[in-house]
């Protein structure tokens, strides 16, 4: 029963798709055609090559035949003429020229064998060929006087020959036969073959079209592949940065409740607020692409700013007279508007002036940056401009003097700390990166950080906004 139900279930699915149909896009057939042409292309090309070779051979053959024909039709008359001249000079033509028409006719009707035995044989042949040519010329040509024809006209009368020709004139006349005047009047027309546009072979054209289309498709696919590879939409990065900071706002005494503290702290606070130092940070960031060229990045960084300055007093604290640096005690701000309250009075009693000594102050923040980036170059090598803000949460600071008897003091955020708990800083930087593979990119990040407000609490009476310049190195993992 259960099996029957199962079969029913499967049959219902089978039936649901029995008559189903969805039209695919037109590009599918175009691509199929392209694939088929590509497959047939090889065979077609081989066949085409055979026909091309055949055509080339035909052209070569035709040119060879044409060349031979040209050689015989244009070169032979001249060579015959020279032969004729040579023959005429070497052999007396008296017999031939003095021939009677009857004899001439006899000569013309001689068998080829007999002709070959005749001493004036070349001349006669030449005469015949020229006579034949004259037959084909217009009648006006045939009326050219015999003198202009030299001794070639065998049809002239015996009398004319007898009166005009004697033995001494023969060489001159024969010379004139070397360049028959007939040729000088010959109208030679040169007909140039009309240049025809080469007829395009439709199969070749089709193959060329297909090849072009194939190249286009290939290029598009390559570009798409490249774009897919290069298009980074979500990534995370770890990195660290090191740099230095300078305080660009001079400290100034404040009014009101902070006067006492400022007066108490005096030059020490001033020194600290002016101090420059080094900044280090490390953290984790994430980024996403919000458009073709724009990215959004954020993260969490642990930031340390360390500076050195000089102090000249210490505080004797506790029964064991442990000395604290002055810097620590002056952190306690005034509790009222009184110039000197009880705490300050106590502090003054503990204060011991000493030789100048070096104090190191390390401030630690948790920085939460949010930056927008513009991709100037988005290739394997990337160049990006970043700008944004960072919320810096003050964690703690540690003060340590360089003397052995001075205790290290750490003050966390809160009422005892002279520093503001939260600062807002502006960030600006560049990111020069290189893609190492489909999922990795390494980058160098020169950055500038500048707090929009003083890092000290207002009651401290000093102002300080350290401008930090650092260079970071980040390793990015690209999710997609």
């Amino acid at each position: 029963m259960k099996n029957m139900e199962r079969e029913k279930f499967e049959d219902s699915w089978k039936d649901a798709f029995e008559e189903a149909g969805i039209k695919p896009s037109d590009k599918v057939w175009t691509n199929i055609e392209l694939e088929m042409e590509r497959a047939n292309g090889g065979e077609l090309k081989r066949r085409l090559l055979f026909y091309q070779m055949l055509a080339a051979a035909s052209v070569v053959f035709a040119m060879a035949i044409g060349g031979i024909g040209y050689y015989y039709s244009f070169k032979n008359p001249q060579t015959s003429g020279s032969t004729l001249a040579q023959s005429d000079v070497s052999q007396p033509l008296e017999n031939t020229i003095a021939q009677t028409p009857a004899a001439e006719r006899q000569t013309s009707t001689q068998t080829p064998a007999a002709e070959r035995q005749t001493s004036a044989q070349p001349v006669q042949r030449e005469e015949r060929s020229q006579a034949d040519r004259r037959e084909s010329l217009p009648s006006s040509r045939r009326e050219i006087p015999p003198t202009t024809l030299g001794g070639n006209n065998v049809e002239r009368s015996n009398a004319a020959v007898a009166s005009s020709v004697d033995e001494r004139d023969l060489p001159r006349q024969l010379d004139s036969r070397e360049l028959p005047s007939l040729y000088t009047h010959r109208e030679v027309t040169l007909t140039f073959a009309k240049r025809e546009e080469p007829e395009v072979d439709p199969v070749l054209k089709m193959l060329a079209d297909l090849e072009r289309r194939e190249r286009e498709v290939q290029t598009r696919e390559d570009r798409k592949k490249n774009e897919d590879l290069m298009h980074e939409s979500l990534w995370t990065s770890v990195g660290f940065a090191a740099g230095s900071f300078n305080t660009i706002q001079a400290p100034s005494a404040s009014s009101g409740s902070s006067l006492a503290a400022a007066a108490l702290a005096g030059p020490i606070v001033e020194n600290e607020a002016k101090a420059s130092g080094y900044a280090y940070s490390m953290g984790l960031n994430v980024g996403t692409r919000i458009s073709e060229r724009w990215v959004l990045q954020g993260g969490v960084n642990y930031l340390t700013q360390s500076s050195d300055y000089t102090a000249n007093s210490v505080v004797a604290d506790g029964p064991g007279f442990a000395f604290n640096s002055m810097s620590n005690e002056r952190y306690k701000p005034a509790t009222s508007n009184a110039v000197i309250n009880a705490d300050e009075y106590e502090l003054r009693n503990k204060l011991v002036y000493s030789a100048p000594y070096n104090v190191n102050n390390s401030m630690r923040y948790l920085s939460i940056p949010v930056q927008a980036g513009y991709l100037i170059v988005d290739k394997t090598l990337g160049v990006q401009l970043n700008a944004g803000v960072s919320t810096d949460l003050f964690l703690e600071n540690t003060v340590k003097g360089d003397g052995d008897q001075l205790a290290e003091t750490t003050v966390a955020r809160g009422a005892d700390s002279p520093y503001r708990a939260v600062n807002l800083s502006g960030l600006m930087g560049t990111e020069i990166s290189y893609r190492l593979g489909p999922h990795y990119r390494v980058s160098l990040n020169p950055d500038i950080r500048y707090p929009f407000n003083t890092i000290y609490k207002s009651e401290m009476g000093v102002q300080s906004s350290p401008l930090t310049f650092d260079v970071g190195l980040r390793f990015r993992y690209i999710f997609q």
Binding site: S12, K14, G21, K23, P24, W29
Partner: protein, 194 residues
């Protein structure tokens, strides 16, 4: 085109086959026009997106045209083309099946009360099939719609018979859950969604 869209249906299968065997492009197009819609559904059943299905369809038809000379006509042309499409789809999906290997799943209780699919449009069913995990999708198609048994499926996919069965059970369970959801939607909003 000599045998374009309008004449494609007038040609007999034998004429189509003969024309295609001669390499006549118009006959090939006629054959394509006749079967492409049905085959597109087959390809969609084995893929997740339309683009993926079209790739399979394209590759499949090229194979069809090349293999037609060897087609012995022991089965109907449509059945033979469907088989080629299914094989092409399986080849295409095999890589994904390796990425998401099929494993035996715990015993799944298929609800006794099967939700009927009658009245649900095939495009809706197609969407449900496409939403299944890769392994379930392939096994369900092969078993329920193509009619292969688990032994054949196991051989085709290089998995055990048990895995095929468990994947099919999982597919049925997931389908039932989705159909239940759909039917409750119909009850609430009527047939308008389809």
């Amino acid at each position: 085109m000599q045998h374009g869209r309008t004449n494609a249906n007038m040609l007999s299968e034998q004429e189509l086959i003969e024309g295609c065997r001669k390499g006549d492009r118009s006959f090939q197009q006629a054959l394509y026009e006749r079967f492409c819609r049905k085959m597109m559904v087959v390809c969609l059943r084995y893929s997740k997106t339309t683009a993926e299905a079209e790739d399979i369809l394209q590759e499949g038809f090229v194979k069809v045209f090349h293999a037609l000379k060897d087609f012995r006509q022991e089965s109907k042309l449509g059945t033979w083309i469907t088989r080629i499409m299914v094989n092409t789809a399986l080849n295409s999906q095999r890589r994904k099946l390796y990425l998401y290997p099929m494993v035996d799943v715990e015993k799944i209780d298929v609800p006794e009360d099967e939700v009927s699919i009658s009245g649900i449009h095939f495009s809706q069913l197609l969407e449900i099939i496409q939403s299944l995990p890769h392994g379930c999708q392939v096994v369900f198609n092969l078993f329920a719609i193509e009619g292969y048994n688990h032994k054949e499926i196991a051989e085709m996919l290089g998995i055990s018979e048990g895995t095929s069965k468990s994947q099919y059970s999982r597919a049925r369970s997931l389908l039932q859950a989705k159909l239940m959801k759909e039917s409750s939607y119909y009850e609430k909003y009527g047939e308008g969604k389809v």
